[in-house]
Amino acid sequence: MLASQIGYYSLILGLLMSFLITPICIKNFYNNKIIDIKIFSFSFLQFFLVFLSFFALIISFVISDFSNETVFNNSHSSKPLFYKIAGTWGNHEGSLLLWLLVLTFFIFLFIIKSNDQPKKYRILTILFQQIIIVGFFLFILSTSNPFGYLFPTPKEGLGLNPILQDPALAIHPPILYLGYVGSSIIFSASLAGIVQNYISKKWAKHIKIWILISWIFLTLGIMLGSIWAYYELGWGGFWFWDPVENVSLMPWLCLTALLHSILVLEKKSSLTSWTVILSIATFTFSMCGTFLVRSGILNSVHTFANDPSRGIFILIFLSILILISLVVFFLFHKEKKNEISKIYFLSKETSILINNWFVMYFLSVVLIGTVYPIFLEVISNEKISVGPPFYNKLIMPFLIFFLIFMSIGPKLHWIKTRFKKIKIQFFLLFIFSSFISFLIIKNMSFKNLINSFLISAAFYLFFITLKDFFSKEFSNLSQKISHFGFSLLILSILLNSLFSSELTTNLKVGEKISFKKGIISFESIENKKYKNYKSIVGYFRIEDNEKRLTILKPELRIYNQPYTITSEANIKTTLYSDKFLVMNLVKGNEYFNIRYQVKPFMIWVWISTLIIVLGGIHSLFKKNHEK
C-alpha cells in the first residue's frame, strides 16, 4: 500500500524532471558556457526516482500487496520469492517500468561517459533521448500504470502464468531490454550527430561502444528466449519463426549490419548516410517490436494481455519518432564533400558492404513475412499464415552465398597482394568441405540440393575461420572469435535440423515400445506435491542398440493459481546430442502421449552463440584499453 504510493508519486516526479532538464538543456545549448552541471544532477535524480518507483513495485510484489492491481493480476502469495521478484517484470506494466528504468540509466551513463565529445552534440542527444523518455512516462502513466489501486483489497492474487515461472525467462526480459534501450542511445546520438554535422570518425569511435553493448545484450537476450522455448514450451524446437521472435530478430539484424558499417565509417570516414540510416532503423525496429507485441495485433504464443488503447498510444508515439527522424535526416543531413564515396573492389570495405547487403535482405524477408499478413488482412480481408517454410525458402539459398562471402570477404585486402598462394589454399579447403558434406548427405535418407550446398558452405566458413586462429597475418581477434562462433552456430543448426530424429507414441505405465534405435520402457510414475504445484514424474528407461542406458524423467506440473498444466521436458545433454523426452496427458484414459527426440549438437547452438557474444565483449574491452 505505502510502497505503491511511493512508487506512483516518484514516477510522477520523475516525469517532472524531464520538464526541468529540457529548458536547462535548451538554454545551455545556446550560451557559450561549458555543459551545465544541473543536467547531470537532474538526470541522476530522474534515474533515481524511476529506480525508486521500480523498487517500490518489487517490494509490493515481495510482500504480496494485493491492493496493487498489477500484483493482484500477476502474483500469488504461495509463489517462491524468486518468482515474486521476477514477476515484477513478467507482465506488461512492470516490464515497461523496467524499460523506463534502463532508459534513464543509459542516458545518465551517456552523459558521464561522453566528456570528450562536443557540448552541443551531447546536449542534443540528451534532448532527443528526453523525447523518448517523456513518451514512455506518458505511456506508463496513461495506459499502463503499474500502481493501480484495488479496493476492497483481494485476499489472494491470480498468479503468474506457470510457463513464465522459469529462471531463463526471469532474466530474459531485463537482458533484452538492455539491448533495445541501448539502441535508443544510438538513435538519439545519430540524430544529434546529423543536426550538428558531427557524423565523423570520432563519432563512430564513440558510438561503437554503445553499438557493441546493445548488440551483446540483444544477442544474449534472444538466446535466453530461445533456450526457454527449447525446454519450457516442450516441443524440442528452439526457433519457430514466431512473429514475436522475428520482432526481436529484426533489430538484431539491423544492429549487426550497423556493427560492420560503423567500422568503415571509423576507418575510412565513408558510408555516413548508410550508417545513420541503420542507427535510426535499429531503434525504430525495437519500437515496432514493442508495438507489435504489446498491441496484440500479432497472433503469437507470447501475447501480453492486450488493450487497444495501448496499441494506439505506441503507434502514435512510434510514428512521431519516425517522423522526427525523417525530417532531421532529410533536412539536416549533408554528405560531406570530401568524403570518399567510392570503395575499391578488393578491399575490406567491399566485404562489409556485401555483408550489409545480405543482412538487409534477411531483414527484409523477416520484416515482410511478419507484417505482410497484417497488411493483407486489412486490405483484402483475407488471412494467411507465414511460417517456417516461407523463411526457409527465401533465406536458405542466399545463406549459401553469404557464408562463402563471409569466408573470403575479410581477407579481400590481402588477396590483392598475395593472390596465388592464398587462392590455392582457399581452393583446397573448398574441395575438402564439399567432400565432407558429400559424405554427410550420403548418409541421409532424403537428399536436397540446397542442403548439401549449405553444409559445404558452412563447413568452408568453419575451416577458414578455424584456420584464421593459427594465422598471424590477420590480427583482429574479436572478429575471428565472432565469425568462428557464427560458423559454428550455422553448422550446429544445420546438422541439428538434418539429423534430429523423433518418436511420438502413446504409452501407459509398464509398457515398452521398441523402435529402430532401441527400446523405451515406461517404468513408473510418481506423484509429488510442491508449494505452488502438484507434479507427476514419469520414469522412462531408454536402452539403445549398443545397450547404453538413459533414464529420463519428464514431468507434468499442475499449477493451481491459475490452473494450468505444463509439461516439463527432461533433457540429457552431452556434447554429441541432446536426448529429449516430454510427456502429456491423453484425455480420458491412463495413456500418456510421449515424444522422444534425439537432437544432435544441440548444446553447440548455445555454446556458439556465447562465442559470438564473447567476440563482442573482447572488442568492447579492447576499445576501452586503447583509451
Binding site: L233, W235, G237, F240, P243, N299, S300, V301, T303, K342, I343, Y344, F345, T350, L353, I354, W357, M360, Y361, S364, V365, I368, G369, Y372, L376, S380, E382, K383, I384, S385, V386, G387, P388, P389, F390, K393, L394, F398, I436, L439, I440, N443, M444, S445, F499, S501, E502, L503, T504, F515, K516, K517, E546, S567, Y576, S577, K587, N593, V598, P600
Partner: protein, 123 residues
C-alpha cells in the same frame, strides 16, 4: 596437423550413423506436414507443437490421409479446401501473395545495384 584434423572429422562422420536413426518414411512425412500447418484454435502454434483437442484429432486425420496414399501436396490442398489458406504456414504464390514473395527478392536486386555502384573495380 592435417592428419589430426582428418581423423577428428572422420570420427564425427562415423558418429552420424549412430545419431541418425532411420525412421519410417511415413513418420518423417507426417511430422513434416504437421509442422507446416497451423493449429487454428491455438495462439500461433503449429499442429505439431500443440496438444489441443483440435491438434490431436488433426494428427489422426493426417495419419489416415497418409495411409490412404495421398501425397504431401494433396494433403495440403485438402486442408486448404477445408479450412482456407490460413491453415498453411507456406503461403501459396498467387495474386494476393506475389508481393510477399517478390518484394524481398526485388529489394535484394536493388541492394545489389546500389552496392555495385559504390564499388570501383580496379585491375
Amino acid at each position: 596437423m592435417k592428419t589430426k584434423k582428418f581423423f577428428l572429422i572422420l570420427l564425427v562422420i562415423l558418429n552420424f550413423k549412430i545419431l541418425y536413426a532411420i525412421e519410417p518414411n511415413n513418420e518423417i512425412l507426417k511430422n513434416k506436414i504437421l509442422k507446416n500447418i497451423r493449429c487454428l484454435i491455438c495462439q500461433g502454434q503449429s499442429v505439431y507443437d500443440s496438444q489441443s483437442d483440435f491438434a490431436i484429432s488433426m494428427k489422426l486425420v493426417i495419419d489416415q490421409k497418409i495411409n490412404e496414399g495421398l501425397s504431401e501436396s494433396e494433403i495440403y490442398d485438402y486442408l486448404k479446401d477445408q479450412y482456407g489458406q490460413w491453415i498453411s504456414y507456406d503461403p501459396e504464390f498467387n495474386k494476393k501473395t506475389f508481393i510477399l514473395w517478390g518484394l524481398p527478392i526485388l529489394l535484394f536486386v536493388i541492394g545489389g545495384v546500389i552496392v555495385s555502384k559504390k564499388l570501383i573495380i580496379l585491375k
